[in-house]
Symmetry: C2
């Protein structure tokens, strides 16, 4: 069953049935202020931090679901009938109430038609402002004069999301709301004296207001039937203490055919007058259109860095719009705020952010550079890093060091890969020599930071010479304490070394490069010696020496990651590479994607860790953990298996499931963390959408491997690995200021591919750097 | 407006209007299993720990309020009309739906009548079992045969309340539910391998079940209109992952006049078969009656240790039933679980528990002794203590020591007062010599622990020789860092010394007693020298040396605690005592109780602390902080001002406000943490009911000071300080196994009071110890 469609021209996903199988959300705001909004106008907002800067409250995992939100109620003064512009929360019967939601890039439009009244509200966060706008337009499509009351409504959060959820004996006695200068004024002072302020105002004439939740909603009622709306008037409530809300009542008389507009604006107050300035601005004609235009341009710019046309609609839609949009979202908000991530985990996941970078570095390299600096500052002088950081409050050089139990075997190793991606994209060699402090003590060049990351892993090897697993590796649930060793982390070390070797060359450190090459070979050989299981690679050795991911195991015989990474890191020579990828196809693949392991664990195993505690088929315990899928796509491309690569890519492509949304549940326009595996009754349901490393890696798999466009220090590699069903492929890629307009086609009779730059045949597959501002035509002809 | 009445005969509060101004709750279960339930059947349950053993989920501070709960839906098969036994969540119009809720001691009965069907459900936790029973009886009062479907419903929590509230990307993939052996079987395994299990079953024939919340409730619905009830059948849903619930469908056909019963039982599974054993037991005839009888006897025993009759109904009702019930509740659950305390703070508050002891030591001395041992084990060898402990997981002697910033100036000083109360009640001299470990290292006698508590304070004096304020004193919001000193903590030290001096005497440590007496005098003198402000005592000196609570201050000129404690500790000689109590009456008293300070702080003052961050009139910032009120009652009794003492007592007596419940909001049968002060728009609303030290201290103020019955080592002091409106007072008090039946009357012509024991006149006011099992008549004649 489908609930909507992709409108690629407008870069929108259009929801035509509001009773989606889960709230389908969107993210408004791309820097300091974030508003999450669902297709039924549910959601919340925060400024800078979802943990400490929460402005609008949300009830997660709630019954009734998806409450509260940014609601606009309309009440007909004549008969008292009322509804909401969004279907929820009033939820008029869908046979009389028509509605549509358009999630666009940085805005959401919800429109409805009920009893002759058309209404549309556009929600957005203006660029570089800490506020959100609800721009409402109401049209009388009936043949009678209509007298309406409009009530906006939102429930404020008590700023600190944890206290707001838990410490009622304190936090319920801190807020102050009142109506002042034409605005709802909300402020809250914490015990340390810090003061937070917000406002809510409208560009219309305020007929009434409420700033106390209980006054607006009424006792034993809900957002579905607030007493103020039912009675037709707000109570002008103000309060010190309790639960603050914002509701503004505006009156409208509409002649037949007439339409009127009013904007509601809510936001944080950082300087006195922020609120009234915002209202003044949005009273101006076309201000809404101007701001929406800015947002549209911003996104056009972000997305235009790479666009493709392959003839496969779901792939193109995801690649050109939604996958990239999701990449920017994960880059902005890491894993901190969604409908699943409740905001307790603030700031940046270390490994998460280093991977998120890969999905946006072609589009916003300057922001990536700044992010890399933040992350490098959270590395210790011993090379390991904090697993999780909050740049807003992080102190550098203060002597802090993570507890041994909080050190992961992979966090620091992603640095090489992320820095490599940045330098290849930009050619910013100087960055490698930039001096950056360590979090505990001292400072060194970026390049030295990378060497330290390798040092840490070399100083933490286990008895078989593989990386100790420590708290965990990429798989948070494999907890190999003691002498437990991770085969996968060892492969990551090799892959990271490969990148650092290239960077050493680019930095002119030839001796280092030589030394690191030897080291890389040594570790690769060792992995092949101690971790090859005959048809695939092992996953780990536990503390007591038992194997994990071996054909000799009863459960968890094979894991996907050591296979994909054996290829990605170059550890596997071609024979082993083919064998282990064939094993993935045979034992792990399903129609909804590749499982993380098989067979699922049925019994808790302390030495392997919490992965064995999950029910079968959920999360890492043989779930289809999406993040690991593009790694197999990449490996298959490396091994030149375009058909298998594309099948794997398509199996997890959200847009390909649009007409199965009832079974799938989550949004068809974004990747999820995992899809439920076979062993679970809900096989194929997809869970934890939006904030997942899947986004960045699916983009890389598609962009750099299937389409094959990969930046290098001295040029752009074009090495497509496309399936037969892609007849003609066009890719537009900006790289170091030049445009490359790439056309890929199959040609009969060719035995190997040919590459032409601006009409001239090239020797290899790397396009040399072209002048800034130049537009270049690249043709790649593949054997058919 | 009133919503119910006190039914003293049945020891119940009867709620006749279900739309109470807030959910009015009750606590079921007195030891390991706790079920909190509101008058609309909302609430939650936990086993042992509300933080890690949460069985039923609750949505705190929610819209719609008071959800979810322990719901029973009734559906008429003929027309599909359905309702709930409690008014909420279906909420049929109150003109057709009649209902009553009886909160009793350890049980809650909710009954209703709708369309000819009478229903009553009795909720209780059987003694010494980790389960809860919902005993339902349905009667067909119509003249037609009725075919009904009954659906029980509760929403399980994912055991760990914090993860349940926050970590959805993990915790939503851990639960497993199914129907097995006639029961809903719910289990959840955590990442460390620990396994939690619960069951839900019925004694009726199960017609259907649901164990998946979304299946029972349905999408975009709520507990008000669950799809299973609306359609008339459960979906037999089971699941691994997601949100587990329990619903059991039972079918009933009732002839006119016929009634039927069915019991639903839910609980924790600790040994295999716990669930089916419980169901088998509650299938037996009269099992419910038997268990309710046990609960009734238990409470009769607990309450009978002290009962009074004063002719003032609200006082007697509160004293004999509800105040003592609340004292046992605070003793059991400290500050961990209510509708306000969301369970994040598990275990015992240190100072809280030492004070809670005072309200129950006469009733359950053996449990108090065990609690004292737990608390003494959390004292350090330096004398200070952990502010908060969890006895279930606490390790003793493990070298842990609180951070300097987490040491309070009062926690350890309550030990002397609590141990004194226990030893005076029981005469258990041996306890003083019991060896108990310190939490960090070493062990010593209880008596030595007490000396250490004094040592810590003496080792932490400020420049004026007063106790440093440290993190805070009793007032959590006065944070006098650095050289800041607390006058009040210094008075507490004196009061504690007084108790320890008495204990030293009782322990035969005369030299210690002499030494401590001198010390006490010295500190008392010092307080009078540096902390007397002319008409009252100062509250503190901040780090920079400024005064707090002085007539020279602009805000916070006078605080109540240094005045009441100057008298309670004996620091104030009579002249100063009279002056400072007069100042309390003049500057701090209101019709709803005594404010903590005046005038309220309007501006944040870092040196004073977070008290200055609250809005005026809320919490400690000039709110009527109830806990501090009985201290003034005690001081007035010490100063022989019975009228003022009783007025203060009555001003905060919840039962006295029964007919003002609409303004008061909270339950009229329990004390709250505070009543909103004058400066706030909601003056007189009372907040944070149930878990407050107010309970124990109001009991002490009434029992030991107004009624004047105070245990001593060698007898029972009877020293009533009653107002004129109490004509005749009778007190029944068990003390060391003997009953004292005390009659107090006024007699004309007396110049001083007379005390007669069993007909013989005594010289003082102390009744010497009488034989165990003896019944003794005591007459006290007061001058009229």
């Amino acid at each position: 069953m489908q609930f909507g469609f992709f409108d690629d021209k407008n870069r929108e996903y259009v929801i035509t049935r509001p009773d989606t199988p889960a709230p389908w959300i969107n993210y408004l705001g791309a820097s300091d202020y974030c508003a999450i909004i669902s297709n039924n106008a549910g959601g919340y907002s925060f400024s800078q931090s979802p943990k400490s800067g929460r402005i609008l409250r949300f009830r997660f995992n709630n019954i009734p679901e998806d409450r509260p939100g940014r609601y606009i109620y309309i009440r007909d003064r004549k008969d008292g009938d009322y509804w909401s512009v969004s279907w929820q929360p009033v939820a008029k019967p869908l046979r009389e109430f028509k509605t549509e939601c358009r999630h666009g890039l940085g805005y959401t439009k919800i429109s409805s038609f009920y009893r002759g009244i058309g209404a549309q509200v556009t929600y957005f966060v203006p660029e570089k402002k800490r506020c959100e706008v609800w721009a409402l337009e109401i049209e009388n499509k009936s043949d009678k004069r209509r007298e309406l009351d409009i009530f906006s409504y939102a429930e404020f959060c008590l700023w600190n999301s944890e206290l707001d959820m838990k410490d009622y004996q304190y936090i319920l006695y801190t807020a102050k709301t009142c109506f002042r200068g034409g605005l709802i004024d909300y402020r809250l002072q914490f015990g340390d004296g810090s003061l937070k302020k917000a406002f809510f105002g409208s560009t219309g004439k305020t007929e009434g207001f409420d700033s106390v939740r209980e006054s607006f909603v009424g006792q034993y009622r809900s957002e579905k039937n607030p007493v103020a709306v039912e009675k037709g008037y707000c109570l002008s409530s103000s309060q010190e203490g309790g639960n603050p809300c914002g509701s503004l009542q505006v009156r409208m008389t509409l002649e037949p055919g007439e339409s009127k507009r009013v904007n509601f604006v809510m936001g944080e107050v950082n300087s006195p007058g922020d609120g009234s300035r915002a209202i003044r601005y949005f009273k101006k004609k076309n201000s809404v259109e101007k701001e929406l235009e800015k947002i549209s341009k911003l996104w056009s710019k972000k997305l235009s860095a790479m666009q493709c046309s392959t003839g496969i609609k779901a792939f193109d839609t995801m690649f050109n719009i939604w996958n990239q949009y999701q990449c920017h979202t994960t880059f902005s908000w890491s894993r901190s705020a969604s409908y699943i991530e409740a905001g307790g985990r603030d700031g940046l996941g270390y490994r998460d952010s280093l991977q998120d970078i890969l999905g946006v570095v072609h589009s916003i390299p300057e922001r990536v550079r700044a992010r890399l600096v933040e992350l490098l500052k959270a590395q210790t002088s011993k090379g390991c890093a904090f697993h999780h950081i909050q740049p807003l409050t992080m102190k550098t050089g203060g002597g802090s060091f993570p507890d041994r139990g909080a050190i992961y075997s992979d966090d620091h190793l992603w640095l090489g890969i992320a820095v490599g991606a940045y330098v290849k994209e930009t050619g910013d060699r100087k960055f490698l020599f930039q001096n950056i402090p360590y979090i505990d003590k001292g400072a060194a060049s970026v390049y030295s930071h990378l060497l330290k990351s390798v040092d840490f892993s070399l100083n933490n090897l286990g008895p078989r010479g593989l990386c100790l697993g420590l708290a965990a590796d990429w798989n948070d649930c494999i907890n190999l304490y003691g002498k437990g060793q991770s085969v996968w982390s060892s492969m990551l070390l090799v892959r990271s070394l490969d990148e650092i070797i290239q960077l050493a060359g680019y930095a002119g450190k030839k001796a280092d490069a030589m030394k690191l090459k030897k080291l890389k070979r040594k570790i690769s050989d060792r992995i092949n010696r101690v971790a090859w299981d005959g048809k695939w690679y092992l996953r780990a050795y536990v503390d007591s020496g038992r194997k994990v991911g071996s054909s000799s195991c009863r459960e968890g015989k094979i894991f996907v990651n050591p296979q994909s990474w054996a290829v990605m890191s170059g550890v596997a020579e071609p024979g082993k590479a083919r064998l282990c990828l064939a094993s993935v196809s045979r034992y792990l693949n399903t129609k909804f994607g590749i499982r993380l392991l098989a067979p699922a664990y049925a019994k808790y195993d302390r030495e392997i860790g919490s992965i064995t505690s999950f029910p079968k088929g959920l999360k890492e315990n043989a779930g289809i953990f999406c993040h690991a899928n593009p790694w197999v796509v990449i490996a298959e491309c490396i091994m030149k298996n375009p058909e298998r690569a594309f099948k794997y890519c398509y199996n997890i492509l959200p847009g390909a499931y649009n007409s199965d949304s009832d079974k799938r549940k989550a949004e068809p326009y974004v990747y999820s963390q995992f899809t439920t595996g076979k062993e679970n009754g809900n096989f194929g349901q997809t869970k934890n959408p939006w904030l997942t490393g899947t986004a960045a890696w699916c983009f890389i798999a598609s962009a750099a491997y299937i389409l094959g466009v990969r930046p290098d220090f001295d040029g752009l590699v074009v090495d497509p690995c496309i399936p037969l069903k892609m007849k003609k492929v066009n890719v537009k890629r900006y790289f170091r200021g030049a445009l490359y307009d790439i056309h890929v086609e199959r040609r009969k009779g060719l035995t190997s591919s040919r590459t032409l730059l601006n009409g001239s045949e090239l020797k290899g597959i790397k396009i040399p750097l072209q002048k800034k501002g130049s537009k270049n035509k690249v043709f790649v002809f593949l054997p058919s």
